[in-house]
Each structure stands twice: as structure tokens, then as C-alpha cells.
Amino acid sequence: MRNRREGGGASATTFYLAVVVVAAVVLAAVATRVRPISAGPDLIAVLALALLAVAYPRVVVGDRVQLAISSIVMLAAQAVVGPAAVALVGAVVGPFQGSTWQGRVFNSAQFSFFGCLGGLAFLGAGGSLDPADLSGVGAVVVHLAIPMIVADVVQVLANAVLLSGMLRVAMGIPVRLQIGLLLRSTGAAALGYGVIAFILVVLWIPAQLGPFAALMVLAPLLVAHWAYSQHAEEVQGQQRVLEVLVAAVEAKAPHLVGHSARVAELSGHMAERLGLTPQQVADTRMAGMLHDVGQTSLPTRVVRELDLTGSVIGADYPAAGADLLGDLTFLHGALAPIRDHRTTPTTTSEDSLPTRIVAVADSWDLLTQVGAPGQRLHAPAEAREALAARPSIGDDLLRALDHALSRNPADEAVS
């Protein structure tokens, strides 16, 4: 779970919700004056499509939604049924996404608003609602393709702004940061969606396929969907295999069971606290997880007698671990900390921060949870003192450690 900062509270959320709902209603009213809704088979087909699209499970890889079929349907609808009808479609479809009633209402208003705004932008940019009358490729480009791109951009922006506003009010996430994040994660894909929506419209109306067009256009999308879910599965599988790697270490060194997972957690939290980028945080966490893999290159008897609690330098198993993992491109960022976490850092530069983080997290866990063979564990206060006495560990790292430990009280309860 992400760290939720306090936002404006429940009343602010409700107020923001009300503003968005009013804005959506006003915009829909304006759109109805510009171009009244005409009920017909097309509207029913668009509604059915939009409902199907939201019912379809989204694929999320990492933090990104890879495919949002509903935005393609909304985009195409702007040219097929017009802005007021899109507002209606958005309002009907929105409540199917979200878990709380506020969430559903917000989605309804938000879908309606950005869809309608996109529809108006489409008309404003010279878009034609009768694409069958367009003659010549030039006319199709000027009165359909370009207006659809404009609508696409407007729709994506409106969506990002409304959503970021909600996240700011509810969770205190800065608007600018959130908009940037949303745009980056949808950017290139949104352009692709625009093209697909364009194909859908051309097949639907001028090529006279009607709603059957959707079937043709959606086939490749389903493939992409399939591939992305396979991809997500593989990414998960990767995590699992890494756990097997750790399990192999623990089979050799039963006293280290759970150590790698704890160091990974602690390293990740410290890296976040010290303001590293998401990639660096992930790398540091990974390094924490795999820092002991090199021990597999030592004879089992040696591993079981190893005393790692002191600040002893010179063990060469970390280098063996880094060598072992050197071929894996996705681990490149984690190699340096794995190799160097038991050496005294020569610099205190930003670059060596992940290494120093893993070193501190490792030492802390060894002192408080693992211990030297045949000796007692250190109490937290004692361990902190021992760490503070090491010249290579600065105040910033100790503070980050304190913070990371306070984030997970369960760990402290164990010690």
C-alpha cells in the first residue's frame, strides 16, 4: 500500500465530487443544445460496447494499465453518436467501475465529463458526425482523423486533471506529480487508441459494417490483452523464481531463513525515505533480497559457521554472488550493492547510496535477528549504538533506518 498522506478529509472529497458532478451535468446540457441526442441502433450498440469494455478485466503490469478498451469506445462514440450521447454513455458506464459509492458517482461524472468534452472538441475541430458524406481521402483526414486526434488529446488531459484533482483532495498527492504520472503511463498508448477508434468509425459508418466493425477492431486488441496478461504472469513468475534463489541460500544456511526478505523490505523502505527514484528503490530492494546469494559458492560447513555480525571486510562471496547474477539484465541496477555491501565505502556519493543502504539493513538484521553462531542477539538500542559507532554509517542512514523500522511495527515486535 502506498503511503497515504493526509488530504483534506471527507468533506473536501464530497465537495470536489459535487463540483465534478455539476460540471458534468452543465457540460451535458450544453452538448445537448449543440447536438441533441438521437436515439437509434447506433446509440444502443455504442452503449453495449462501452458496457462490455468496462466489464473486461484490465491488465496491469507494474504500475501501468496496459490496455483500456473503454477509452477506445468512448473516442469512437464521439464521432458515431455525438457529444451529448457520449455524456450519457459515460454516465451509464462509470458506476460499473469503483468500489465505494463515492467512487462510482465520481467515475460516472468523470467519464461523462471527459467524454462530452472530447465530443465537443471533436466538433470544434471541424469533425463531421456524418462521415459517410465525406468524399476523398483529404476530407476524411481533415474532418475525421484530425478532429479525432484533437478529441483524443482533450479526453486524455481532462481525464488526468479530474483524476489528479480527486487524488489530491482525497489522499494529498500533488496534482502536478500525479498528472505527469498519468500522462506518462498513457501517452503513447493513447495515440494508438486514437488510431484504433478512427478505424472503428470508418468501418462502422462509411464502410457500412455497422457495429460489426467493433468485432474486427477488437480482435487485435484482445491479442494485445492476452499478451499483456501473459507478460504480467511472467513478471510474477520472475519474482517467484527469485524467491527460489533465496530459498536455495536458506537451505544451505538455515539460520538465515527470513533474513533476505527482511533486509529487502528494510532496504526498500530506507531507499524510499532517502528519496531515490522508483527504479533505484526497486533495485535496492532487489539487492537486499539477493545480497547473500554468493554464499552458495561456499562449502555448506563454512556457511553455517560464518559470523557476519562484525564489520569484517574481505569476504569474497559477495563478488561471487554478483558474478552469478551478472548475466541477468534486469538485475543490473542491483549488482553494485550485492558486490559491495560488505566493503567499506570509499565515497559517500549518491551513487553508493544503495550499497550503503543494503549494508546498514543487512547489519541491522544480522545483529538483531540472526546473531553470530552461539551468541545472543542484540537488543534494538544496542544494535543501533553498534551501527552508529561504525564510521561509514552517517546520520542520514541511521535516520532512514529509524523511519523504515517505524513503518513496520511487526518487525520490531519480533525483536
Binding site: F198, A207, M216, R240
Partner: protein
């Protein structure tokens, strides 16, 4: 110096190439005299489709199993089959024979580029595509009276365009399946694997992409009356998105395979097992598995299990000599296998793999006499491991013969006779059961 086109090793590949040549020749004989007119009237269209067919062919995807497909090229070829009215250009009214020539020209272009880059051309696979297009073009443009073909129906404003689209997709499916079945046949022959298993894998693994390809061709033809030649690049966008998603997935699979490979190195770095032993056992197991007709998913788990079959040695206090489990006491073998399975079980997704590792030591006698459920995969690994332990990875005929002799002594008692049979074929012929013929190609 390699020949321009690698000589197909066997009859089936030759047959496919011959049919492909026949299709092109029929096209030339039937309508060759129209070629100059064709080039004059349809210059732009021809240039575009030939280029896209060629470029698409150069952008093959390597699927996780090692198969290669060229979805963009297949889709563009099918587009040529259906293309009719084109906004701003003359109607693409071609004999089906000419359609074959156009596609063959694109593929030939790609073959030349490949040849110049010293890559494998893969003539039988290209011929299979030509034959597929021949079939599809015959169905769309040749079947029925001259004004009653599927192709003519798209020009008829009274016909339901949705039905026409449906017909096009159906024809595209037939054409593409023709190609896939032929390719599967070629592959089955090259790898000496069961033909039905090859068809199942070919169609199965390609199925999702095939779905996208069969709609893209018709989509181009249906968009063309409105968008003109722009319809080609535009209609390929959704397919290109699917293509990039599939590529990403394939690359990820590769990474996972690499990761498992790293796990298999653990015991090597620790000095428990000889270097490359796990890799060799995995390769041998895969080839035996293919000969026995295992499916893709099974092969993947088999490969992972073979790579990790010695993982249990990692926690041994006293390493066994040369890591050769075949020479260790049965009880020790069993302990090692169980320890390995226990470690692998940490990942729930690898449950199959853990099971294969766990039962790899069970003697075949127990399967036969006591009905112990030992998966085929485990029996394969048992055999492959014994072979590699006994030969130490050497291909010296004396060692290989001695190893096979010793394995034959345990036939039916220690080892599954079917597996030993397959192993014998694999050991005797280096091409049996190999998917990746890139290693033997000029690169």
C-alpha cells in the same frame, strides 16, 4: 559459401517448395502477359504492398518456443487477396494468380535482404505462405461466377458489408491455416517429431496472433474505399500493438529462462556439479520430450526441471564426487531430489517443476510393478541425467556407446523403454528434436 537457398533436408519441405513454385508458375503462365499493364496501372499500390510484405517478413517474431512467425507480412499478404476499390486509385481487379505473384515478389525481396545479411532464408516457410495466399486468393477471387465471387461482393452496394467482412475473415482463416499446417509439417519433418503434435503447437501458440492477422487483411480492403492507400498503414496499427505486446512477452519468457539458468549455476559455482551439466541435461531432455510429442507448456516445465534437477545438492555437507547422482546411493539420490523439490516449491508457480524434480530418481520398475505415478517428464530427466553423468558431456563415440550400453542394461528396470528409445534416436542424429536450426545456419 552457402547456397542461396538452404537445401531443404527432406521430402516434405521439398514438396511445399514445389507447390509454392507451382503457384508462382501458374500465376506467371496464366497472367504473366498482364504484368506490364499491372505495373503501369497499379504502380503505387503494388509498391506499397510489396514493400510491406517484405518489411513484415523481415520483422519476424521469435516465439518463446523458438518458432518464428511474421504476422505483419501475413496480414499484408491477405490484404492483397481482398483489396478491391481503393479511393484515389484504380480498382485492384486482379486474377488470383497475379495476387500470388505480388505476394511472392515481396517475400522474394525479403529473402534477398536476408541472404545479403547472411541470414537463413527459410525457403520452405516462405513457400508455405505463398501456398496459403494462393488458396485464399483462389477462394476469394476465383470461386463462383466472375460477378459472384466474394471479392466482387464488396463492390456490390446492395450486398451486406458485414456479411462480406465475415466471408473475408473466413477465407483468411482458411488461407492462414493452410500456411500453419504446412509449416508444422515441415517442422515435424526437420525435428523428427510427431506431425500432429507439431500442428497442435503451431496453431496453438500462434492462435492469438492468428486471430489478429485474419481480421487485419479484410480490414485493409474494407477501409480502402474510404482511406485509399492510407488504409494499409492505418489498419496495421492495431496489429502492430499486438505485435509489440507479444514481443515483450516473448522477451520476458526469455529472461525467465535465463533466471532459471542462473539457478542451475548455483550448484556449479559451489563446486557440486560439473560446469554445463544442467544445461546439457536440459537440452537433451527437451529433444527427447519433443520426439515423444510433449506440448509447449510441458516442454517448458520439463526444461526448467531438467535445469534444476541437481539443485538439492546445494545444501550437502559433503559433495558427491563430480556431482554424478547416477553413481550415488539410491537413498542419497532420493534425498537430493526431495531437497531440490522443497526449495523449488517456494514458488507456487513452479509446482509442476518441483514434482518432476522430486520423482526423477524413481526407478521405472516401480512405475510398472507398483503403479507409482511418475510423470513422463521425470522419466525423461532420469534418462538424460544418466546419459550426461556417464559421458560427462563428451561426444566421443566410445563414451557414448558405453553410456548407451549401460542405460540399455537398466532398460525396463531403471529406465522407461520409450524414453530410452527416443534418447537413442536423439543421440544417433544431431538434428532430431532440435527447434533452433539457427545454430546450424550461416550467421
Amino acid at each position: 559459401m552457402t547456397p542461396f537457398v538452404r537445401r531443404p533436408q527432406a521430402l516434405g519441405s521439398w514438396a511445399v517448395v514445389l507447390v509454392g513454385v507451382l503457384a508462382v508458375t501458374t500465376g506467371l503462365l496464366g497472367a504473366g502477359n498482364l504484368l506490364p499493364t499491372l505495373v503501369r496501372t497499379h504502380g503505387h499500390t503494388l509498391l506499397l504492398v510489396v514493400a510491406i510484405v517484405a518489411v513484415g517478413e523481415l520483422l519476424r517474431i521469435r516465439m518463446p518456443s523458438g518458432r518464428e512467425t511474421a504476422p505483419l507480412s501475413s496480414a499484408a499478404a491477405l490484404a492483397v487477396v481482398f483489396l478491391g476499390r481503393i479511393q484515389g486509385e484504380p480498382t485492384f481487379a486482379l486474377e488470383s494468380g497475379l495476387v500470388v505473384l505480388v505476394v511472392a515478389a515481396g517475400l522474394a525481396g525479403a529473402a534477398v535482404v536476408r541472404r545479403l545479411r547472411h541470414e537463413r532464408v527459410g525457403a520452405p516457410a516462405l513457400a508455405a505462405r505463398v501456398v496459403g495466399v494462393w488458396v485464399a486468393a483462389g477462394l476469394a477471387r476465383g470461386l463462383g461466377p466472375s460477378d459472384g465471387t466474394l471479392w466482387a461482393a464488396q463492390l456490390d452496394s446492395t450486398a451486406s458489408q458485414a456479411l462480406v467482412a465475415l466471408g473475408m475473415v473466413a477465407v483468411a482463416v482458411v488461407g492462414l491455416l493452410t500456411e500453419l499446417v504446412l509449416v508444422a509439417g515441415i517442422r515435424a519433418e526437420q525435428q523428427r517429431t510427431p506431425w500432429l503434435a507439431a500442428v497442435r503447437d503451431e496453431v496453438g501458440e500462434a492462435a492469438p496472433l492468428t486471430l489478429a492477422v485474419v481480421v487485419t487483411g479484410p480490414m485493409v480492403a474494407l477501409l480502402a474505399p474510404v482511406l485509399g492507400l492510407l488504409s494499409l498503414p492505418v489498419a496495421l496499427v492495431p496489429l502492430a500493438m499486438a505485435y509489440s505486446a507479444v514481443r515483450q512477452y516473448a522477451r520476458n519468457r526469455e529472461t525467465n529462462r535465463q533466471l532459471i539458468g542462473t539457478l542451475s549455476h548455483l550448484t556449479e559455482h559451489g563446486g557440486y556439479t560439473p560446469v554445463h551439466h544442467a544445461e546439457r541435461v536440459a537440452e537433451l531432455s527437451l529433444r527427447v520430450g519433443r520426439v515423444l510429442g510433449l506440448g509447449d507448456r510441458q516442454l517448458r516445465s520439463l526444461e526448467y526441471a531438467a535445469l534444476l534437477h541437481d539443485l538439492g545438492q546445494i545444501s550437502l555437507l559433503d559433495p558427491i564426487p563430480d556431482g554424478a547422482t547416477v553413481l550415488a546411493a539410491p537413498a542419497d539420490q532420493r534425498d537430493i531430489a526431495e531437497e531440490g523439490a522443497r526449495i523449488i516449491r517456494r514458488a507456487e508457480t513452479l509446482d509442476d517443476v518441483a514434482r518432476f524434480v522430486e520423482t526423477q530418481t524413481t526407478a521405472y520398475r516401480l512405475v510398472r510393478e507398483l503403479g507409482e505415478p511418475v510423470p513422463l517428464e521425470s522419466r525423461i530427466i532420469k534418462c538424460a541425467n544418466a546419459f550426461d553423468d556417464l559421458t560427462s558431456g563428451s561426444s566421443d563415440p566410445v563414451l557414448v556407446n558405453a553410456a548407451m550400453e549401460r542405460i540399455h542394461l537398466g532398460l525396463g528396470y531403471e529406465y522407461d523403454p520409450d524414453v530410452v528409445d527416443a534418447l537413442t534416436r536423439v543421440v544417433e542424429d544431431a538434428t532430431v528434436g532440435r527447434v533452433d536450426d539457427r545454430s546450424s545456419a550461416a550467421r
